[in-house]
Amino acid sequence: MGKLRIILTSAYVRGLIGQLVGTLLGIGFLEAIRGAMGLSPTGATFNLFGTEVAESSFVFGAIIGVIGFLSAAGVLTDWFKWMIGLKTPLNHGAPAGKPEWSRYLNVDVNHKVIGIQYGITSILVLLVGGIFAIIFRIELAQPGMQWLTNDQYNTLFSAHGIVMIASILLGVGAMTNYLVPLMIGASDMAFPRLNAFSYWVGVPSVVLILAGMAVGGWDTGWVGYAPLSLRAPLGVQLFLLGFWINGFSSIASAINVIVTTATMRAKGMTWFRMPIFVWAAVAASLIQFTATQTVGVALMMSIAERAIGLNFFSPVGGGNPILYQHLFWFYSHPVVYVFVLPGLGVISELLPVFTRKPLFGYKWIALSSLGIALVGFLVWAHHMFTAGMADSLRYLFMFTTMFVAIPTGVKFFSWVATLWEGKMSFETPMLFTLGAISVFLIGGISGPILGTVPTDLHLHDSYWVVGHFHATMFGGFIFPFFAALYYWYPKITGRMYKESLGRLHFWLMVPGFWVMSFGQMSLGIAGMRRRIADYEAGLGFEATHILVTMAALVIGWSVLIMVYNFISSARTQEKAATNPWRSRSPEWQIPSPAPEFNYDVPFEVVGDPYDYGLDESTYIQMAPAPAGD
């Protein structure tokens, strides 16, 4: 089969066609019913190929479209077969008669393939979100409207927010899927088909969000507050739907991670002998599989209020706009810890390797992940200090919010103690780890000032908040994610990335980031509101805005350097050593790339994971290989 043919018949292409066909069929179906019953549409109508289509038909079409994507891509095939009672053996390995690489373009159940699919999609989506940021940053560089309209600006920053968050969730999926089974000595995830579903359902959800930009866009930000969301153009509907569909991915993959960890650990691997990243993955999953449901409810209610006129949030019919915010933040606060916990796990994982020292306070770090996850559930209303909720809640949530600092602090202090007297070396992954610590630190300590209500009354919805969350998300996710990509790159590809380019990336991105984030914070203190397309001249914002925009371009270029590095190194670099970092972790004791089922012979855990500096100690022992193997 030719290359082109394989690409054109890949699951991505089939899926997208399926989504398009499904959407049109869905719209047509509901319109036909509506016509037959003589119903007049509630809500807005839209012009599609010259006919007026009701919004509810659009919603139905979008849902059928997602099902269309999944069916056409082949994600549901095994389940369909099971329904009619056929046997469904789990097919592993490359599809027969096709080259190995075609696996990555099709539905595959191997957790490493899925992890890589997640990772590449995450980077692509990051680039899309980054391009949006760069477009609107250029607009913000000067006061006055230069090359965007208000509508375009509003759509761009809203899309930037949600697209970036989708990218993070995909990146988290990449790390947990690829690493958890390898680290605990499992051959795959507990539910490989569900795992594939989790990844593939994310793709049409991102497509929906991007499509929303084409049908009018939306101006609500990524939070989609009612009642504004109830009046925004059709784009907001696709944004809500895309966000909602993405929830399925989160829930399914989180359950998979927990079950895999709970039931498939290697012999001798007790909970406190797992690599620390697994703890982080489990803690993040605990949040994901529960809290996601409540934002789902909030989104579904908004979708229904717009499409079929049920009333929940619009005060006109007696609804309560604050309820939306509670339901939304009950998920969307905890989810920020989903973003960072795996990232912090990567930091804890890499520090011992590059300092040649045991992880300081393993148990404390492990339990602090759980602590963050649990306290994280009790603080959501700190996003609503000015929203008009009861005053008693302001006091309550001020206190709970402050308490998240404590488990986070335990992590920081334990990291520092790990570094202390450690024999540090500075390869790219370590550089990004140190960068992550510094950046997440400033993100974290710009949080309590938002958590105390009196100061938040000034800072709320200002650029201080923007600076705060870019620092937390870069420090807690982007930097560790990049560290992880460099660190496990030899494991994934079997080759070494180019160290010089890696360092260049780091030394561009770190100063770029500091300028961007501190610039945003200082603007916020000075009174710059967020989510504004334009600001007046003469307020003293101009110089800082130019700096922030230039920093954005630097960050953008540095990310492109990384992408170039990864693509070119996979072809040209020499083969990497099996264990280039001299790590004790199980995944480095087997050949790179890892075999289809990870460990051809199961291993047994006989020591602690991070006993660097302890002579004669080993973490795992491979069982003697069966004869003839």
């Binding site: 306070g361 001020m398 540090m424 660097y612």
Partner: protein, 357 residues
């Protein structure tokens, strides 16, 4: 020295770095706007406290990181491991408990300050604040319901703002006053401010509210007693609606005091978001469907009541709220009730438009 050498050096560096950060870095970088309200006093003190904590924590961690990176780093050729230290329970407990005190301290501080910000004070003046896409208006119930598009305040007079919204969420923020409060449709929220510095400021809507959120601003003037009384007297003696000419009323409705048409329609011929009203009456307009209409009474009435129905070419993304009909009826009913006169707001506006040549 000996064993403690490292710790002593680090301690000194942390102190120096904290001071350096506080005064040379964060100090210049994080500048609050001028402080123009009593509320700002306690809030700014709290900001100071936070900046100290930020400087200290940042110094503490970063000094330790850099120190370890420089002093203990791996020497070329060294393949050995570091010391085998697993952890230290006493240390872990210390760095769990000490921050507990810090955060509880800040929590109590925040609570006390917040209580003070929320507590009513005697002799407050009430002002009703209404947000709508994309303008603010202010009513003074204690001054015969003066209706104003600018917020005029009396220096050192505590006010309690009663905020509401007629459409979506907005948020009242004057950075110089520090405090902020959302305006929520369907309910009333309150905010207390005591301005302490005469001058001119701006209300800046701080909650995304759609298309023109960025420009949802309203002027604020803080006046001395004499000026304020003069302003209030002038506004209270302003002609009643019934005594105004339709043209005058039309101009009022057009302004932000009325229905904020000026937010989108200019009267100087420039047309950014919506057609300008300069010479609009009687003009021929090309519509999006290709037809041409003459702007007459019927067309104007139709365009106000149903903005989506006939759209002028070049303005496809219609942002105009569709509920002006309802807003007008409510206002007309109110005027009929208070003054006993029947007026037609759309006629006023048409009359006003005819004056714009």
């Amino acid at each position: 020295m000996g064993k403690y050498k490292h710790f002593i050096i680090v301690a000194v560096l942390v102190v120096l770095t904290t001071l350096g950060l506080k005064f040379l870095v964060f100090g210049p970088m994080f500048q609050l706007p001028v402080q123009a309200s009593e509320q700002g006093v306690s809030i700014d003190t709290m900001f100071e406290g936070h900046f100290w904590m930020i400087s200290f924590l940042f110094a503490l961690i970063m000094v330790l990181v850099f120190y370890s990176a420089v002093v203990f780093r791996r020497k070329p050729g060294d393949e050995t491991d570091g010391p085998h230290v697993h952890g230290n329970t006493a240390l872990e407990i210390i760095w769990t408990v000490v921050p507990v005190f810090a955060v509880v301290g800040f929590g109590i501080w925040g609570g006390v300050t917040l209580k003070q910000l929320l507590s009513p004070v005697p002799d407050e003046m009430t002002i009703k604040v209404t947000g709508r896409q994309w303008a603010w208006s202010f009513q003074y119930p204690e001054y015969e319901d003066i209706n104003s598009a600018e917020l005029v305040l009396l220096k050192d007079q505590p006010v309690v703002l009663e905020l509401s919204s007629s459409d979506v969420l907005h948020s009242f923020w004057v950075p110089e006053f520090r405090v902020k409060q959302d305006a929520v449709p369907g309910r009333t929220t309150t905010l207390r401010i005591t301005p302490t510095m005469a001058g001119e400021y701006k209300v800046r809507c701080a909650e995304i509210c759609g298309f023109d959120h960025a420009n949802m601003l309203a002027p604020v003037r803080v006046l001395e007693q004499a000026e304020f009384t003069a302003w209030a007297d002038e506004r209270m003696n302003a002609p009643k609606f019934g005594e105004m000419t339709p043209e005058e009323r039309g101009a009022l409705w057009y302004s932000n005091e009325g229905f904020a048409c000026e937010g989108c329609h200019t009267i100087d011929g420039t047309a950014a978001t919506a057609p300008s009203w300069l010479s609009v009456y009687g003009r021929s307009e090309q519509l999006t469907d290709g037809t041409t209409v003459t702007v007459d009474d019927a067309y104007i009435r139709q365009s106000i009541l149903d903005p989506q129905s006939q759209i002028v070419a070049g303005f496809e993304a219609v942002q105009m709220p569709a509920d002006f009909g309802d807003q007008f009826s409510a206002k007309q009913a109110e005027i009929a009730a208070t003054e006993g006169v029947e007026i037609d707001i759309i006629n006023d506006i048409i009359a006003y438009m005819q004056t714009l040549k």
